[in-house]
Symmetry: C2
Subunit: 441 residues, 2 copies
């Protein structure tokens, strides 16, 4: 059921939210953590609206909020998103409705709170281009899934031509643990990793700078209240629980990965950096972009612990994804980033609820702010590969960029930007903002 | 160089530390986090001495410490071990020397601080059997290595009879990321996990309680100051950095593991519980138990980033390890736990310094309090398997216990206890305390 926070006729008193092409209209309201760039301020929680940020610390002080909403704003005004995440879906929905009303043009509603905030606009808003963003919350554990079946098939073919998709793939939402310490927010740059690798024809391995540096296009899911140790989430609990979604770039050192990953999985090939977009788009904002979800009838159907009527009816999420590359030569010449591919998260083989239900099915406790990567989201066609490994057929087929440069893998100075956008007839389109990361030499 | 804190003639003013068989003589001084059992106290940092705990909050107030030691005690008196870990080896050595002197019998030294603390014994000591322990510090990330070559070979044979040890094993200190949220301290009990598995002859997988539940005998290494993102540690930095060691039980669901682990490694087979012993035995306490470390001359020698003269001379650690099993029938009959095996951490194929140097070699940042598991420490002989998978030859050969019960894998009510002890001629023996965990139905 779509509530009033998706009313397509509602506009904000922040003009830049009403342009039709912003990622952050009144119907989005994602959470992030920011401070005025270059200031000594503590990190604050804010909500993106148009090209501005609503500062929830200032807004809590200057608005006219009912008591229950003041209580929800309390941890957020202290810069603590985790404590809000822990309160679960009812709190999320209540605050969303209150923020929607508070940012809605008071000419539409006559809301005293909206009038008060609009009058205090200079104190409660900060332009996004004057803000520095951090990770939106404390991430306790990070897990990366492998829900992109087109990615799994294409990459599987490179490693195992006769047996691309392993027998467990269509039964188990495959996942593995990742590294929290090296997760950064959009704008992150990182040194090209060094590592150990062995060319197929080499006698012995060597150690040096990674030669096959790649990106992976993923979305990241933040856990809401989570579950206690030993108490798995049902599919319905999992569906209600997840807090929201960001874009996620799972940078990968392919030469290191090929040599190290047997038998315990990728390790140093992945943990030198992971970049996420700064704004968590909530489950509630994504509500209009749900889609039906079913495995093809010729495939195994999910085991009962991974199945529910709600998941079949609307477990999928229609999120259009894109990857853009800008080389340092392009940057120097003032040329924009070049789009490398497009795909859609609706093509994932497992849903967000299935990721949480599977993860907790053995009793593993998920905690507020834990991050779950979706795995690389490639589309069904070859040009829809979510990584260079796929787009260059394992490094065999160079890509030619509009300025004549070629790429097999990433070179120093290359920036990768992920974009995500949700749109459909009858709903206001929303987006995720950019997720940018740059390779240093 | 062995400093005075290993003086074999030194005894403590806490009588139970001088028995010769305690794990915690004056020469050990491990750190843990505790409170009086059943109290509403905040968690405090303490040091185990004999059968007592020196409460560092009370000791900081009631002792006569020089200014520099007062400063080191400050975060510890606030219950924060991570902030002390972050200060690196010089701080660690200085505080160790001060604690050694403060707990040493003042009749031997005439120390005014030792006299003051002894006089305040009732306020600064708590009997260990009246304490409740927690995890000793905040663990940011947990990584599990695979340094036990005998384990890797035996387990490899079960999965790949023709090719037990993969070609990377003797080049790469194999590791993978683990789950932080489900790490518990000795005394932990956990529900038998449920999971998805597929018998070799089954058409399709099923979901239900794990039937092949196992333990793994490991040690856990706590990171000290760590390294900044993008700045790998040299072998010498790695050797200086690590803070200390605990015992670690990496509980494993073998049926889940066999079905899920390709291609990204173990996940739900491991993350339902991990148990560590409560006392971190410091690098400085382990100094007398170092051993020479070299790969056999017929094996590949470590690449330069994993090699150093100091590592060859003394990179190994002589830690005697044991696993004991007590079933609920044994408990009910008042029978003690039965020793299943013995091994020694000196048989590991990679050293602690190599684990840290490898982990950071790609620029991955290690942080104070991060935990690195060693992987299962099996000995060279079949009866030295560090898991039931090994001791029962993949579940084919049941073990018979002294009371006539048999075990292939763990049953509900079974408790596993790990012990570790260091001893040699010319040094006071030290131990790790027990690491106990119990399977619930």
């Amino acid at each position: 059921m779509i509530d009033h926070t998706h009313d397509t006729s509602a506009t904000a008193w922040v003009a830049s939210a009403n342009t039709g092409h912003t990622d952050f209209p009144l119907q989005n309201l994602p959470y992030g953590r920011f401070k005025r760039a270059g200031s000594q301020q503590d990190w604050r929680i804010g909500v993106a609206i148009g090209d501005q940020i609503l500062d929830l610390k200032a807004a809590a002080q200057l608005g006219r909020w009912p008591t229950d909403i003041q209580a929800l704003l309390h941890p957020l005004a202290q810069g603590d998103l985790n404590r809000f995440m822990a309160q679960g879906p009812a709190a999320r929905k209540a605050l969303r409705a209150a923020l929607f009303d508070a940012l809605r043009d008071p000419a539409q509603t006559g809301s005293a709170n909206a009038r008060a905030l609009q009058a205090a606009a200079a104190q409660v808003l900060l332009p996004q281009d004057q803000a520095e963003m951090s990770l939106p919350c404390q991430i306790g554990d990070y897990t990366d899934f492998y829900t992109g079946i087109h990615h799994a098939t294409t990459v599987g073919k490179l490693f195992r031509p006769d047996n691309p998709l392993l027998p467990n793939y269509k039964w188990v939402p495959i996942g593995y643990h990742g590294r929290v310490s090296s997760i950064g927010v959009s704008g992150q740059s990182f040194r090209r990793p060094q590592g150990q690798f062995k060319a197929p024809d080499a006698e012995v391995p060597s150690f040096g700078p990674c030669k096959r540096l790649d990106y992976e296009l993923e979305v990241g899911v933040f856990v809401g209240a989570g579950n206690a140790l030993g108490e798995p989430m049902s599919m319905d609990q999992a569906e209600a629980d997840w807090f929201g979604i960001v874009l996620l770039n799972d940078w990968s050192a392919r030469d290191v990965q090929a040599w190290e990953y047997q038998p315990l999985g990728p390790f140093l090939a992945k943990n030198f950096a992971t970049t996420i977009s700064p704004w968590i788009v909530t489950q509630e904002a994504l509500e209009p972009f749900r889609t039906a979800f079913e495995h093809p009838p010729t495939d195994p159907q999910p085991l009962p612990y991974l199945d529910s009527p709600a998941n079949r009816a609307q477990g999928g999420l229609n999120i259009e994804l894109e990857v853009h590359l800008q080389t340092s030569a392009m940057r120097a010449a003032g040329q924009p980033a070049h789009r490398l591919m497009q795909s859609n998260f609706a093509d994932a083989y497992w849903t967000v609820a299935q990721m949480l239900a599977h993860h907790s099915s053995n009793g593993c406790n998920l905690q507020p702010g834990d991050l779950l990567g979706s795995g690389t989201q490639s589309g069904p066609r070859p040009e829809q590969g979510g990584s260079l490994l796929e787009l260059t057929q394992g490094g065999k087929q160079a890509l030619t960029l509009p300025n004549g440069e070629t790429r097999v893998f990433l070179q120093d100075g290359d920036s990768i930007t992920l974009h995500g956008r949700c749109q459909r007839e009858g709903a206001v389109a929303i987006g995720f903002g950019a997720c940018v990361g740059t390779v240093r030499g």
